[in-house]
Amino acid sequence: MNDSVLKIENLTKTYKLGKRDVQPLTNLNLEVKKGEFTAIMGPSGSGKTTLLNIIGCIDKATSGSVLIDNVDIAHLPESQLYKIRRDKIGFIFQNFNLLPYLNARENVELAMELAGKFKGQRKQRAKDLLNTVGLSGREQHRPQRLSQGEQQRVAIARALANDPAIILADEPTGNLDVNNKQEIVKLLLDLNQKQGTTIIMVTHDEQVAAQTQRMLTLNNGKILKDKQTQKSTLSGNQSKAEETQEE
């Protein structure tokens, strides 16, 4: 399981804020292997969300390359990027971002509908995924009738719908209470360990990050630390010595 699913080289992102240039990411290099569960930490403004957005093709790099499954998405036009987002990426947001007028099953189906999957096929898969995230029997409930933890589970099921190469989770536990937080982390860990799902998660919570395999710390747009935290259970790899990469 050493295949690289994400390879970033010399990634720089610059944008204008009023009259001044802001550079949230500077010459960043990163490689994520298939099946890896990576947590990205760092103070506010360190570039975590920008990095996640660029990997998720919802923001564009200023320079450098971002390879997802060996496709450089850094300079693809929007007419191509939406396909990458649809087929290769699964998003989990802090605010869940479920469509309020769709029920749980329809929210999960939405991602598959955008991928052009047939109604019967996507309905069954949505039910299976909701079952996987522990929401069996809650398919018909709209988001407002679900707890926050349940909403995030629906969002996780939706992220998995098209069997993406990478799940990008932007502070998925940020809006949850302690119990729900732990359940969501456990769910993500299960997905990673049992199904080999590659997950990159931005979090402020060290306890949450500590449960992942790899913890990156960003500061001023650069990776300050890159730390392997625990065994890679799915692949059975040997526990790695703690590494720290300072850039």
């Binding site: 998720g56 919802i58 998003f91 007028y101 939405l110």
Partner: protein, 436 residues
């Protein structure tokens, strides 16, 4: 597609109050929009009828002018002579004139023609009647002859240019002689063939109509006539011609139908005023209707535009989410346009319902009332013109208009939502996700 349609429907229904309000407003706008074209057509048709009626009136007036008002009557003043039946009494007789003595009248400007007439009393056993002679020798004057010939031929035909040896008898005269069309009749010892009968009428003369020369011959008045009818080219020139005749022939009594001339000129003015009013109404209906269609169309599209702009702004994060999930720009564009079209289509159905009930009210409310001509009557003695009034119209929504309404609703929905949908499609996902 079904998914997009389902989402569009749910998005409309989840903001019930707002959607209902928009649909009601749009429905009224669309009801006006589908009511206006037939209303314009109907109003214009009503006004056109008025114009036609007024034009017919004007033609009738012209005809009347030709018949009476442009004629000038010229004769010598009647003179009193002793009554042969009673020495103590006098009677008024019409002196005769020589036909050629007044030939200069034809040279007066605006004179179209001069028709000499011999109108002499005759008696046949129990009936007093007149011998009425008209020259029938000039085909170019036929239109003037026809105005002087009997107007109520009930059998046979009227006199024609070139007729000789024939007579048209008024019904009483024919009855008195016991003849009918095709028979011969002896009048003052001269035999004529009866070619026509002038039916009973309160206005017509008890007379036998014939060629002037023959009338002169049988009454022993060769070359003489009782009066001239002078025809003038235009009613406005009648006074001028009459004055000139009076100056040229001071002994003649020259009379015009002054009150009729005045009445006709007045009616002509009234007709023209009403005609102008009707034509102005016609233009006003067209311009007002067109303007209203343009305004309602613009308002309709603007409502869709603003509501969809608001919707796009309100749902920016949703757009971001959809894009993050892999929705293409075309899919976003399609979804928001479909919502706009659906909203407008629902309103279109409502508009058709409202229009079906209220098209007539909209027509009478939104368009200038068409002018309706009053009834006018034309008689030999004058013209009376009815007062024009405002007409109300009745408009019905046809199946074609229903289809048009739905088509317009779809089109306006698409047009109105095009820009908001384009903005939604162009939204950059990263910015949309940050939108609060």
């Amino acid at each position: 597609m079904m998914g997009i349609l389902s989402r569009a429907t749910r998005n409309i229904s989840r903001r019930k109050t707002r959607s209902l309000l928009v649909i009601v407003v749009l429905s009224f706008a669309l009801a006006m929009l589908i009511s206006l074209p037939p209303s314009i057509t109907q109003s214009q048709a009503t006004t056109q009828k008025t114009i036609d009626a007024l034009t017919a009136n004007a033609q009738a007036v012209n005809a009347t002018m030709s018949i009476v008002a442009t004629q000038i009557e010229c004769h010598l003043p009647a003179i009193s002579v002793p009554n042969p039946d009673s020495k103590a009494e006098t009677i008024q007789v019409q002196p005769l004139m020589n036909n050629t003595d007044y030939s200069n009248i034809t040279s007066i400007p605006h004179v179209r023609g001069v028709i000499p007439i011999l109108d002499q009393a005759a008696n046949d056993s129990n009936l007093d009647y007149n011998i009425y002679g008209i020259p029938l020798d000039d085909a170019s004057l036929i239109d003037m002859y026809s105005l002087l010939l009997p107007s109520n031929i009930t059998e046979g035909r009227n006199l024609q240019v070139g007729d000789s040896g024939v007579v048209v008898l008024q019904q009483r005269v024919a009855d008195n002689f016991g003849v009918q069309v095709g028979d011969t009749v002896k009048i003052l010892n001269q035999t004529f063939q009866v070619v026509g009968i002038d039916g009973y009428s309160p206005l017509n003369k008890t007379a036998a109509y014939m060629n002037l020369n023959q009338a002169q011959t049988i009454t022993d008045n060769a070359g003489n006539v009782t009066n001239f009818k002078v025809f003038v080219d235009d009613v406005h020139n009648v006074d001028e011609v009459a004055t000139k005749i009076s100056i040229m022939y001071p002994k003649l009594t020259v009379s015009i139908a002054a009150s009729l001339v005045y009445s006709i000129i007045q009616m002509q003015t009234q007709t023209n005023v009403q005609l102008e009013l009707a034509q102005a109404t016609m233009s006003e209906i067209q311009s007002t209707g067109t303007l209203e269609i343009a305004v309602v169309t613009a308002v309709d599209a603007a409502i869709v535009l603003f509501i969809m702009l608001y919707t796009v702004r309100e749902r920016t994060r949703e757009i971001g989410t959809l894009k993050a999930l892999g929705a293409s720009s075309a899919a976003i564009l399609g979804q928001f346009m479909l919502e706009g079209v659906l909203l407008s289509l629902i309103a279109g159905i409502g508009g058709i319902a409202i229009g079906t009930i209220g098209a007539t009210s909209f027509a009478n409310l939104l368009l200038p009332a068409p002018t309706q001509a009053g009834n006018s009557t034309v008689t030999q003695t004058g013209v009376s013109i009815g007062a024009a009034s405002s007409a109300s119209i009745s408009v019905a929504i046809t199946p074609e208009l229903v289809l048009l309404g739905l088509g317009v609703a779809v089109l306006l929905g698409a047009l109105g939502s095009l820009y908001p949908a384009w903005r939604a499609a162009r939204t950059r996902p990263a910015e949309a996700m940050r939108y609060e």
